[in-house]
Amino acid sequence: MKLSNAIGLLPFAAALTAWAILPLYVDYPSYMLPPLPDVWTHLLEALADGTLAGHVANSLGRLALGFAVGTGIAIPLGIAIALNRHVADTLKPLLTFLQSIAGIAWVPLAIIWFGIGIGSVVFVIANTIFFATLYNTVIGVQAIPQALHRAVRSLGGKGLSLASVLILPGALVQLIVGFRTAMAYGWRALVAAEMIAGTNGLGYMTIEAVQWYRTETVLLGMIAIGLIWLVMDRLIFEPIERVTVRRWGIVQR
């Protein structure tokens, strides 16, 4: 790294230093901002006894389940909307309205229907991912050139073969770009839903600690939520998107 870029690390260093020396000079209750070493030891404890790993595993499992349910409904429906004008005209206003009800507003109703716990959380994630994927499926399928439709049809393709030869591959790039956005919204919905309706998971761990003023745990939760998302986005979704867009997308060499 060039020296001139290294100055970008100064604010981080300054913030950590301030965090470390502030308790020596300013008198404030330690629950407002626990000393840095406390957070560190708490992190080591939570790693050692497996509580952190357990919450992370629960959260990720729910995200995967919500993703499966959401995309499982969104992709067939999206294809139907993109291919059939009557379906599109009939459903669009209703879906637009349902989409504008932010996923988080569904949580209290989900609690009534599914109780506190995994059911409510997965419902909310699936709801959020459903709308993001639906939108991208419609766009992706509609972007397939009409000439290709005619070509496949004139060669006798219809139904399943049309879907597997033309529609799914044709919409794939847009779908994968959409997955990344969907997961970004899904992760936010997951954390928020766990805070209101969870019985475990990272969001629950964080909000539960607020009740007891265990600020170390709150900070740990925030860092884990931020870091896990960053890792998923940069190490999984971004490479997948890059590879697929280069291979099948509009970028031509």
Partner: protein, 275 residues
């Protein structure tokens, strides 16, 4: 002109098709409501578990007559307006300030990228510890949610102003202030609008969430409290209000601003329009 010939002009759509589309859309919504209402006696569950459209309408009338819904709506909107307003002003101000100064830009960019990357709902618990349950926490959370997308996109907008443009205005005798108002701000405007759009969406979700967690009034509270007290029809009135308000904000506020900016300063150049 060649480009316009290949497109179907909007007037070319037959009027019957133009009427059919909203008619089908209305039919879709009516069918949904009818299926919902008919399913209520068939399902036969407790009304708190599965209220029908008639129950929701009754709850709506009740909430309107008691004045609860208007008051909560105003509460929510004023929180939203204040948070988004402060967030935009601060985001643009610091975005321009940092973007114009190469040193500040190098110093602060990694920090901004880092904070932008942290999912904003994760901040709400620590905000609650610092500022308690209530208005202050909600306002700070909304401001935060709007601030970073606006800052980030303003910064990108300012950095992409071509240096020759700045040099040209300076050579023609323009002052630094004139460069700012006539070159940099207009050039950064599409970025600012992008940031505003992203931020406004996140902030609206953030508002509902914050009101569920940390408020005693507002539409988020109505949704939460209705479910808590088993007045589920009230929850659904709250959800419909939230959806309708977001649609209105999007249709009559965000989209027109976006359209106006992109037409005026955005990617559509004179050359393209004349071609």
């Amino acid at each position: 002109m060649a480009g316009t010939l290949t497109q179907t002009p909007p007037h070319g759509v037959p009027w019957s098709r133009r009427l059919m589309r909203p008619a089908k859309g209305a039919a879709g919504i009516l069918l949904f409501l009818a299926a919902w209402q008919i399913s209520v006696p068939l399902v036969g569950l407790e009304p708190y578990f599965y209220p029908g459209p008639a129950d929701v309408w009754a709850a709506f009338v009740d909430l309107m007559r008691k004045g609860i819904l208007p008051v909560y709506t105003v509460d929510s909107l004023s929180r939203y307006g204040a948070g988004v307003g402060i967030g935009i002003v601060a985001g643009v101000f610091f975005g321009v300030l940092i973007g114009l100064n190469a040193f500040a830009s190098k110093l602060l960019s990694p920090t901004i990228n880092f904070l932008f990357a942290i999912v904003e709902v994760a901040w709400i618990p620590i905000f609650v510890i610092w500022w308690g349950y209530g208005y202050k926490t909600i306002l700070i959370a909304l401001t935060y949610v709007v601030f970073f997308p606006v800052l980030y996109n303003t910064l990108i907008g300012v950095r992409t102003v071509p240096q020759p443009l700045i040099n040209a205005v300076r050579a023609l005798g323009g002052t630094r202030l004139q460069v700012l108002t006539n070159v940099i701000l207009p050039a950064a405007l599409p970025g600012i609008i992008t940031g505003l759009r992203v931020g406004a969406g996140f902030a609206f979700r953030g508002l509902i969430f914050a009101e569920i967690v940390a408020a005693k009034t507002g539409l988020g509270y109505l949704i939460f409290e209705g479910a808590q007290s088993h007045q589920t029809a009230r929850t659904i009135v709250g959800m419909i209000s939230v959806g309708a308000i977001w649609l209105l904000i999007d249709q009559f506020y965000l989209k027109p601003i976006e359209r106006a900016t992109i037409e005026r300063w955005g990617l559509v150049t004179d050359a393209e329009q004349r071609a």
